[in-house]
Amino acid sequence: MINDKNSQKIVDIIRNYARKHSLWILAYGTGCGAIELPPTMTSRYDAERLGVRGAATPRQADLLLITGYLTTKSLKRVIRVYEQMQDPKYVIGFGSCTINGGMYWDSYNTIKALDRYLPVDVYINGCMPRPEAVLSGFAKLQELIQDGKANGAKEYKENLKWYRDNQKKVITNWKMPEYNW
């Protein structure tokens, strides 16, 4: 009964509703964009209204927040953190640097386009995006989740080889546990 299409759809709707209203973010705050999170979370904008809330460890988090540029060094950590998160999991690229390198477009040790290495569900534009933008980004992600379109994790699993190749291009000393879910 649970396996037949419609009931599965209903279940999905309920699940997605819950998921979208409880986003536990793991902010990877090495970039300068991290400074935008405190106002987003605190009393001025209060992202907790939307059920957004900080998570302590990757095991508990749903949403990985890459705030700004990523150095090649820190990319490894990001990938590791992402792979430790449990499905379903979402990534938000935060600021121009994650989209095209931004002001670091010609830096030798930052990665330019985040989505060559991780499946990004939502990009938030701006250098740097204001809290409003961040909130809208969250809202967008919630829409996607509700529509079941935010399945970057599945995509990552399917094209794992492609991602791995890109990652290994950047990361010289590759040493990671196998990723098999």
Binding site: S74, R77, V78, R80, V81, D87, M176, N180
Partner: protein
């Protein structure tokens, strides 16, 4: 020929056979050893009935041996634990040297313990007591590690106790021209008040040394931790109970006849509580598993002493129950440590981690034993603790119950430290090769651990003989109004029905375990302990992130003030002072002939001067 003689003959002969067959072949020695232990056990329970005694005369002294229900109860601990430990020892001691020596003393100490339980007169009690002392002493120094300190500490304290007892015996003998214990008990009320105080104190000195009570406990940590683990289980599980055995006799048959015995009992109850607290605190601060267990034994004996000293029906019941239970779980734990020591070569929490998947059976055994030790339901430890608390509360020892409770709560710390330090934490390459201990070592500890589980639900199994033993001491029967097979009552009639509680716990646990297991079974993965969320970093194979050094540092900081100075340092200072005195006396003999001649003259002169005071 009386059965009791035969029993002792069997044990002694077996010991000698074991000792000498060691020269012939190891297999023969092991067989003799095992046969002797088993034969003693079988013989004891088949042929020696409660209440049969034998009297004989030696060197003009009338001696008497016999068995009563009380001794029989303690013989359960002695023989049960020693038999399992004997099996364990075969595997544990394999390949070690001086095995004949070890097994000989092992058997002799069993003999001495049985002798203590069966001697009805003071001299043979003392004789067996001393035999127990030296046999255990020879095992304590077996490892040969800083023998002079540990061994001498142990022997000095034991002997001080023993000689205190000897003095008491002599005093009793002079006052009642009989050495039979029952005569002493009957004539105790007619003693002079001074004697009435001193005889029990002297006896209790001996017993509290063996029971490792503050402030006479300083030998215990080294002794327990230095003897081979196969014996430490017996040592802390059974041999220390001989002290409890004596204490109970003294308290029930003498102290309670004192005109005002309350203060006496209070003092000892408090000493027991302090022992429990300090033992626990020191156990928490140990990094060596053997030392940890040694201190925890001291603490556990502290509870028992408190129970004995309070001496109400419930308290005595709990003391007897805890005595057996401590034998069970501490035996299992020492065995587990021995297994780990044998398999990994170290017993230090800071060195060995993550053995749970390598030695699962040892883990299960020590898990059960630890739960019992911590006194957490549904295992046996809870029953004993519960009865102890209830007895304390019912007998208006409010501060005492808090002290005991503090001790047993702080015990959680070292309980967790034990399990975490060895079995949990990151799994290391260094310990990849470690295998599970041989079955001969695992099975005994599993039996002991399962024993704790069974007693958790059906304490009546042990409470029944304990009740009979207490009746032989003159208590009223307690079955029904204090306990039944799986129900506990306190003196206010409040009850704990163990069976439904245990079933409920099991049911809930299983339900949620199944829920956790079944839900998402397909997508559930096991990841190694290296794959942990350490801020994105991947720990290398050889780097161990386990947190095990200064494990309870904050707690130790909080509890610091009471642990500034250890009891042994005081003894050391006393020893130094005495040593100076010795050195001074040594100098009287300065090896000079003239001086000696002068001494002679001085002696003569003194005699001549004092002749009127000395002779007349």
């Amino acid at each position: 020929m009386n059965m009791i003689f035969i029993l002792f003959a069997v044990l002694l002969g077996g010991a000698l056979l074991t000792f000498f067959s060691n020269k012939v072949s190891g297999l023969l020695r092991d067989i003799f050893f095992l046969l002797t232990v088993l034969a003693a056990g079988v013989f004891f329970y088949l042929f020696i009935k409660k209440g049969d005694t034998v009297s004989f005369s030696l060197a003009g002294l009338n001696l008497q041996w016999g068995l009563n229900a009380f001794g029989w109860y303690f013989s359960l601990i002695v023989l049960g634990l020693s038999t399992l430990a004997a099996f364990y020892a075969l595997a544990y001691m394999r390949g070690k040297e001086r095995l004949g020596y070890f097994y000989f003393n092992f058997l002799v100490s069993i003999l001495s313990m049985l002798g203590i339980l069966m001697s009805r007169d003071l001299v043979s009690f003392f004789v067996f007591w001393e035999i127990m002392t030296w046999s255990s002493y020879f095992i304590v120094i077996y490892n040969g590690k800083n023998v002079q300190r540990n061994g001498i500490n142990y022997i000095i304290f034991s002997t001080i106790g023993a000689y205190a007892m000897l003095t008491a015996i002599v005093l009793v003998y002079t006052n009642t021209d009989s050495l039979i214990i029952s005569d002493m008990i009957t004539s105790y009320p007619q003693f002079t008040p001074v004697l009435q105080i001193f005889v029990p104190i002297l006896f209790l000195m001996a017993f509290s040394v063996k029971a490792a009570m503050m402030p006479l406990h300083v030998w215990a940590p080294d002794a327990y931790s230095n003897s081979p683990m196969a014996y430490s289980s017996v040592f802390s599980g059974a041999l220390s109970k001989m002290g409890i055995y004596g204490m109970i006799i003294v308290f029930v048959t003498m102290i309670s006849y004192l005109p005002d015995s309350t203060w006496f009992k209070e003092i000892f109850a408090w000493l027991g509580a302090i022992t429990a607290i300090m033992g626990t605190l020191w156990a928490v601060s140990q990094d060596d598993a053997r030392k940890l267990l040694a201190y925890s034994s001291i603490a556990q004996l502290g509870y028992i002493i408190t129970g004995v000293a309070i001496g109400t029906e419930l308290a005595m019941l709990s003391a007897l129950f805890l005595a057996v239970l401590h034998g069970l779980f501490k035996g299992a734990l020492f065995m587990a440590v021995g297994a780990i020591e044998r398999q990994t070569g170290t017993v230090n929490f800071t060195e060995v981690t993550g053995l749970i998947r390598k030695m699962p059976w040892t883990f299960i055994a020590s898990l059960l034993a630890i739960i019992a030790l911590a006194g957490i339901p549904p295992l046996g430890g809870f029953v004993g603790k519960w009865m102890l608390y209830e007895s304390l509360i019912n007998s208006n020892h409010y501060i005492l119950v808090i002290a005991i409770f503090f001790a047993s709560t702080a015990a959680f710390l070292y309980c967790y430290k034990f399990l975490f330090g060895f079995f949990l934490g990151q799994e290391e390459k260094e310990w990849e090769h470690v295998k599970e201990a041989p079955a001969l070592m695992v099975v005994p500890m599993m039996i002991l651990a399962i024993g704790t589980v069974v007693l958790g639900t059906f304490p009546g199994i042990i409470l029944k003989p304990a009740d009979i033993a207490m009746q032989s001491l003159g208590y009223a029967p307690t079955e029904g109004h204090l306990w039944s097979m799986s129900v506990l009552f306190n003196e206010w009639g409040d009850q704990v029905l163990l069976k439904p509680l245990v079933y409920a716990i099991a049911g809930i646990f299983l339900f949620f375990l199944i829920l956790l297991t079944v839900k998402g079974w397909k997508t559930m993965r096991y990841v190694t302990t290296k794959d942990i969320s350490s801020s994105g970093e991947v720990p290398l194979e050889d780097e161990n992130l386990t947190f095990s050094i200064n494990f309870f540092q904050p707690f130790m900081r909080a509890a610091g003030p009471v642990m500034k100075k250890r009891m042994i340092t005081y003894y050391r200072e006393f020893g130094k002072a005495i040593d100076i005195l010795f050195d001074f006396t040594r100098r009287i003999y300065n090896g000079n002939g003239q001086t000696y001649a002068i001494y002679v003259m001085i002696f003569l002169v003194i005699l001549l001067l004092l002749k009127n005071n000395l002779f007349g």
